[in-house]
């Protein structure tokens, strides 16, 4: 029983990270209807900004950790907005496939540039937050897991407030519902899309740092698998749906942790895709998504 709780806790903290990344995918998909393959590499850049900033602040302090987190989020928000401006905006009216390939190009560019600048060898991520272990009966809770869950919940609440309580959030929802009508209502779509990329990339950076705290080995290709799985999480919850992305992330993280704790652990990378295939075949709109009928 205690082992079950332990695994559940590990799964939830992994799931919270997936959820943070999935939110970026789902928001971008909401406004632009395409898979931003470069998102997983923004996540990687976030971890690397954290790595270099972590050397500037004293290790193991709460304010230092939060400063690193904030710096990475701002840095990645700028990166995301730059990518959107330079690579995606010129293709706004092109077929989705072209944008998809451009996104793949940006993703490869970030990965290979990362390999040139940071080197391909994995590095140890510094312990920027204070580390302590609490034990609750037989269940051991590490402070990093607490930080992951607290930070994720705070960010998700903030995101929910931005999307539903602010003017720019209303504009985001308007663009995702109907871009043309949004323009007619006086929404500046370019600003909204740029803001969405900034927001999503900031969340990816937070995810990157939290991931690096729990799995403290970072390299330029670290984003590929978590990125793909987070996208699966976004689809699982219903793409374009913010609570859905959070739910999908939590489910996926938990399932994956349980699989890697069982005798099928070598299949843990396949389980996410098996879930993806099952969900797309039986409920293509995702758990919380609305099913729409194609009209002629």
């Amino acid at each position: 029983m205690s082992e079950f709780l332990q695994q559940l806790l590990n799964g939830l903290s992994l799931g919270a990270i997936y959820a943070l990344i999935a939110l970026g995918y789902t928001m971008v998909y909401g406004v632009l209807r395409f898979i931003n393959f470069a998102h997983s590499d923004v996540f990687m850049v976030g971890a690397f900004i954290g790595y270099y900033m972590g050397k500037l602040v004293p290790e193991g302090t709460l304010w230092g950790g939060l400063a690193v987190l904030g710096a990475a989020m701002i840095g990645c928000a700028l990166l995301g907005m730059t990518i959107e401006r330079l690579a995606y905006r010129p293709l706004r009216s092109a077929p989705t496939l072209n944008v998809l390939i451009t996104a793949i190009g940006v993703s490869l560019l970030l990965e290979y540039t990362g390999q040139v600048f940071f080197g391909a060898a994995p590095r140890n991520f510094p312990a920027i937050f204070p580390v302590r272990n609490f034990s609750l009966g037989n269940v051991i809770i590490s402070s990093n897991q607490v930080i992951v869950i607290v930070v994720s919940v705070v960010l998700m609440v903030v995101l929910q407030l931005i999307v539903y309580r602010t003017k720019i959030g209303t504009a985001m929802r308007a663009v995702s519902l109907n871009p043309k009508a949004a323009i007619l209502m006086g929404v500046n779509n370019d600003v909204v899309i740029s803001f969405t990329f900034g927001l999503g990339s900031a969340l990816a950076a937070a995810g990157g740092i939290l991931y690096a705290l729990n799995y403290p080995s970072i390299d330029p290709l670290m984003g590929v698998m978590p990125g793909l799985k987070a996208f699966v999480a976004a689809i699982l919850g219903g793409i374009g749906n913010i609570p859905g992305a959070a739910l999908g992330g939590l489910i996926l993280g938990t399932v994956e942790t349980f699989v890697s704790g069982s005798q099928f652990s070598t299949y843990k990378d396949a389980i996410a895709f098996a879930i993806l295939i099952i969900i797309l075949l039986f409920r293509p709109a995702g758990l919380l998504g609305k099913f729409t009928v194609e009209k002629v």
Binding site: I35, N98, L100, Q115, L228
Partner: protein, 314 residues
């Protein structure tokens, strides 16, 4: 495409034979590059049938390639020592075995294509791309876990059966088959499915069937290419067929201009040569490669070698 495809096939096979005959006098490095180009052309042209002509965006081509590579390697590694003994068979015997292994690899990849295609081709666009990507990754993880096929270490010691003749011959066969299918009366169904699925269904075409046929044929040739690749590199690992490989093939198809066989062939040649040409600048070459990819996409969204302007549909 030349007006008489059969003559083209015959001519290409003769050329392949000729190149093989004089292969000793070529620089081996150029032969290796040519082999790589040939394998990529087979992959790109076969994927073009799915992505370009039928309009189904598949990101799982490397998965089918790996099925073909593993199965054909297993066939030759199992049969060659038992049939030919220590000192190997004659060229004809080995060629026959290799052809058999390649076809077995192609058929198993086609079967995998059928298994993947039947459930997933109900989906469209991005979703189909993701499901095929998912299946590709599942195939890879499965191979990683099959101990008799080397597990994560992969298969080593595959006999070096791939010669320039086999590569060029299969390039010719792939181009021949894909072109003939698309130009035939039956093949119009692929184009109709791509251009307007709902209208095609309304006039009574079974679009699902067309999609699956395209998928299975595409997978068959991907399997052949995998077999050629395995017997060329002599060692295969599951990670060599991950989704980066699939994306590489998709990029060739898109750069060549979807549904334009000649353009796709040129793109396959260009994209295989590009990393080779950039080799002197070593670590920056992949940076430059990805950068060029973005620039090409921004500058020529209709494909690098697609000169029919205004035919791209959103």
């Amino acid at each position: 495409m030349p007006p008489k495809p059969h003559l083209f096939l015959l001519g290409a096979l003769l050329v392949a034979f000729g190149v093989q005959h004089y292969s000793d006098s070529f620089n081996p490095y150029y032969l290796d590059v040519l082999t790589g180009i040939g394998i990529n052309i087979i992959l790109a042209v076969s994927l073009n049938l799915v992505n370009g002509y039928t309009g189904q965006f598949s990101l799982g081509h490397a998965g089918f390639m790996s099925v073909g590579a593993y199965l054909s390697a297993a066939v030759t590694m199992y049969c060659a020592p038992r049939w030919f003994g220590e000192d190997g068979g004659t060229a004809l015997q080995e060629g026959g075995l290799f052809l058999m292994a390649l076809i077995a690899g192609g058929l198993s990849a086609a079967f995998a294509g059928l298994l993947v295609g039947v459930p997933s081709l109900r989906l469209k666009g991005d979703y189909l791309a993701l499901v095929t990507l998912g299946f590709g990754e599942i195939i890879r993880v499965t191979f990683q876990n099959v101990e008799s096929l080397g597990g994560a270490l992969g298969l080593n010691g595959i006999p070096p059966y791939t010669t320039i003749f086999w590569v060029l011959a299969f390039v010719a066969v792939t181009i021949f088959v894909v072109t003939c299918i698309v130009k035939s009366t039956y093949g119009r169904g692929f184009l109709a499915t791509r251009d307007d699925e709902i209208a095609s269904e309304a006039v009574g075409l079974n679009t699902t069937r067309y999609k699956i046929v395209a998928f299975v044929i595409g997978a068959f040739f991907a399997g052949i290419a995998g077999g050629l690749y395995g017997h060329f590199k002599l060692t295969i690992t599951p990670t060599g067929f991950d989704f980066t490989k699939s994306i590489e093939i998709v990029v060739m198809v898109i750069l060549g201009g979807m549904g334009n066989t000649l353009g796709v062939i040129l793109a396959a040649i260009l994209l295989t040569l590009l990393p080779e040409v950039l080799r002197p600048i070593a670590e920056y070459r992949m940076v430059l490669y990805s950068f060029l990819l973005i620039v090409l996409m921004l500058a020529r969204p209709q494909g690098l070698f697609n000169f029919k302007l205004g035919k791209i549909k959103a």
